[in-house]
Amino acid sequence: MSFLQKVLAIVQKDVAVELRTKEMLSSMFVFALLVIVIFNFAFELRIENVRQVAPGVLWVTFTFAGMLGLNRSFVLEKDKGCLEGLLLCPVDRSAIYFGKMLGNVIFMTMVEAIILPIFSVLFNVSLFHPVLLLIVVLGTLGFAGVGTLFSAMAVHTRAREVMLPVLLFPVVVPAMIAAVKATGGILDGQLFSEIAHWVRLLVAFDVIFLAISFMTFDYVVEE
């Protein structure tokens, strides 16, 4: 098996487990809807100010829903003793990291794919723009990239569900700023060249943190 095949095998396992129950996807989705509804009350979103707050609301929704998914990512593995099984597999540790990370990206993207049209309808803003989709993918990749590393750490701590957001949120601040600013630029109808530096920052964040997570993941799963 090549490296890619090993990674895809792990992704396939995660997707198969999730599709059997759809437990996590459905809770992520309902939670995301709830966040949007709560923001509606909190900000009293009206048509005039929707463009100003929409990028922030959208990304808070994505990160909160993503946090639910990341929290579950290693819990099942650890509680059922599957983590040992995974570690005993004749694969490189980095294959496990990329497999889990891609699984998280897929789950988040699935939820985002449903939330985006609903958001557009509820707030009457058009979110269908190729560059926006690119930003969503880059933001999700950065979030899930560091998130998978921290998720593997948080699962071994005492207050695991509480630990993950505390660890993850301060570190992903730059990616969130870049994603929110780029999304806002698109909603304001700016050209790509005007938001290009935010997209570049997102790419840089993704590359740097994927590289660091990939290098340090060995030490996190080591027994």
Partner: protein, 227 residues
């Protein structure tokens, strides 16, 4: 290693006590009063020095974390932990002194200016480092996870600074601290303060490392007693 050497730690303690005394003299007596802000500007010397020590402490943690993952010796883990504790203390001082200064100079306690925002996030990252350590019981795992967080956290700092700068420069930058034109005595005072606080950092580090080593020894003795 560094903790065991009593002569070194005694020397550092005395040297930093004298250095801080001299720094106080320089700040309150030697340095001239700033023309527009008056005496309150004197907080600037300690504000900059504590910020420098904070950043330096986190840099030491980065080095110690890399060294721990590489070598796996407990000594490096102790250095990383001690440095984070000192760094968080000093960054807290920076934020508090900055806030006092801001109230007088800008008439607000807080503003979401790039530097303030970055220091807050920096502070949060390292507080979460300490929380992570507290939440893990097994010693080797705690050290490993902390080292990973020590690396990831430090790398995110420059990116955060850049993101927040870009984010804020869209608004006009009203408060730019680059505007300082330091005159001779002011510059001397600042440089001396930074030196004195760096010395204080090493003193605190040596004592904190020794404290942790003694705690380890006590732990071992307890373990031996219970057998």
């Amino acid at each position: 290693m560094i903790g065991k050497n009593h002569r070194l730690s005694d020397f550092l303690t005395w040297a930093s006590a004298i250095a801080i005394m001299v720094a106080l003299y320089l700040v309150f007596v030697y340095a001239p009063t700033e023309r527009t802000m008056g005496d309150v500007q004197r907080i600037f010397y300690f504000h900059v020095s504590t910020a420098w020590v904070g950043f330096f402490a986190f840099f030491v943690t980065l080095i110690a974390s890399v060294a721990y993952l590489w070598k796996g010796t407990r000594q490096w883990d102790i250095v990383a932990l001690s440095s984070v504790e000192i760094g968080v203390t000093f960054i807290t001082m920076t934020i508090v002194t900055g806030s006092i200064w801001a109230k007088v100079a800008w008439n607000v306690w807080w503003t979401w200016d790039p530097r303030l925002t970055t220091s807050t996030i920096l502070w949060l990252i390292y507080v979460s480092y300490l929380m992570l350590r507290n939440a893990i019981d097994e010693e080797a795992r705690r050290a490993r996870f902390a080292a990973v967080h020590g690396i990831v956290g430090f790398v995110s700092v420059p990116i955060t600074l850049m993101a927040i700068r870009w984010w804020r420069t869209i608004h006009p930058v009203i408060f730019e601290s680059e505007g300082f034109n330091l005159t001779g005595p002011m510059l001397t005072t600042l440089l001396f303060c930074i030196g004195a606080f760096t010395l204080l950092y090493f003193t605190l580090l040596v004592h904190r490392v020794r404290l942790e080593q003694l705690a380890d020894e006590v732990e071992q003795l307890k373990h031996r007693m219970s057998r």
